[in-house]
C-alpha cells in the first residue's frame, strides 16, 4: 500500500510498511518507551522552497532502536489504487546527496517522488541532512 504525503508545496509517496504509525502530531519529547523523538517538517527538509506547514499537522512516525523520527506534514492519505513506482534513472540516483528518493510514481500524469522514509529516519538520527537543511 502506498501513502500520499502532501506538504505545503509538494506531493510525495512512500510505502506504508516503511511507516510505523500515522497520527496527529504532538509536542512530546519522548515516546512511551522513553525514546527521544526527533521531529522534522518534511517539506523544508526536502526542498528549501517548501515552507513549514502551520495548519493541523499529521506525523509519520518511524521507530528506530533508540530514537523515534517524526515527519510532520499537513496531509497524509492512503491511495486507493497502488501506483507503479518507477526507479530513478541510474545517473540521477548516483548523483543524489543522500539516497532518500528511490523512485517516481505518476499521479494525475504528474511525477511524484517516492521517498525511502526509513532510510531518511536512519540518516537524520545520525545527523545527516541535505545541503540546504
Amino acid at each position: 500500500m502506498i501513502l500520499l504525503i502532501e506538504t505545503v508545496a509538494r506531493r510525495y509517496v512512500c510505502r506504508q510498511h516503511d511507516v510505523d504509525s500515522v497520527g496527529l502530531a504532538t509536542q512530546a519529547d519522548h515516546d512511551e518507551r522513553g525514546r527521544r523523538i526527533i521531529r522534522h517538517h518534511l517539506g523544508p527538509l526536502l526542498d528549501p522552497a517548501d515552507p513549514p506547514a502551520l495548519s493541523r499537522l499529521h506525523a509519520l512516525t518511524i521507530g528506530l532502536r533508540r530514537r523515534v523520527v517524526e515527519f510532520v506534514v499537513p496531509r497524509v492519505d492512503l491511495l486507493a489504487e497502488t501506483p507503479v513506482i518507477m526507479p530513478l534513472a541510474p545517473f540521477l540516483a548516483a548523483r543524489l546527496r543522500l539516497p532518500w528518493a528511490n523512485g517516481v510514481a505518476l499521479l494525475d500524469d504528474q511525477p511524484v517522488i517516492a521517498l525511502d522514509l526509513r532510510r531518511m529516519a536512519a540518516d537524520l538520527a545520525l545527523g545527516l541532512r541535505l545541503a540546504h537543511a
Binding site: L88, L92, R95, R97
Partner: protein, 153 residues
C-alpha cells in the same frame, strides 16, 4: 570498403541547438522528441545540474541542464527554452537547452576533428566540429554526455 565517386555519400541528420552563445548538434538518431520547457518535479538531494523529472507521455525523464554540465552560468527559462529527449544506449534523459534551431543533413566529409583549444567539460563531450554558414557547430557525443553527468561535481 571504398566509396566510388559515383555512389551517393550517406549523410546523417543532426539537430542543431543553442546553449548560451554556442551552437551544438546531436545526431538525430539519438533524439526522440523536442519538448517545450515546463517546470520539473525536483528530486530531493539532486544537484542543480539535474533540476528534476518530467512525465512525457508515460516516460519519466530526468532533466540535464546542459549549461551547467558545460560549466556555463545557469539561465532562467524563456519562450525559446526546449528540452531534447535523448535516448542512447538504453538511457533516456531530457537535455535542457536555450533553443532548438534546425534539423540538417551533414555529410561525413563536412565533419572536422574537434577543436584543440576547447577546455573544461566541453572538451569531454565534443565529438567533432561542423561549419554551418561559416559558424562553428560542436557535435556532441551522447555517451560522453551521460558519462560526464555521472562524474560532474
Amino acid at each position: 570498403m571504398q566509396t566510388s565517386p559515383t555512389q551517393p555519400v550517406a549523410s546523417t541528420a543532426y539537430l542543431l541547438f543553442r546553449v548560451a552563445a554556442e551552437r551544438y548538434a546531436l545526431a538525430s538518431a539519438s533524439v526522440r522528441e523536442i519538448i517545450r520547457w515546463r517546470l520539473p518535479t525536483p528530486v530531493p538531494g539532486a544537484p542543480p545540474l539535474l533540476p528534476g523529472v518530467i512525465n512525457q507521455r508515460g516516460q519519466i525523464l530526468a532533466i540535464i541542464d546542459l549549461r551547467l554540465l558545460l560549466g556555463l552560468v545557469a539561465a532562467a527559462p524563456d519562450r525559446a527554452t526546449r528540452l531534447i529527449w535523448v535516448h542512447h544506449s538504453g538511457i533516456d534523459a531530457a537535455l535542457l537547452v536555450d533553443a532548438v534551431d534546425d534539423l540538417i543533413a551533414i555529410e561525413p566529409s563536412q565533419i572536422e576533428p574537434p577543436p584543440v583549444h576547447v577546455a573544461g567539460p566541453a572538451q569531454r563531450v565534443i565529438h567533432a566540429l561542423y561549419r554551418h554558414h561559416d559558424q562553428p557547430v560542436a557535435i556532441l557525443d551522447p555517451a560522453a554526455l551521460f558519462a560526464l553527468v555521472q562524474e560532474a561535481a
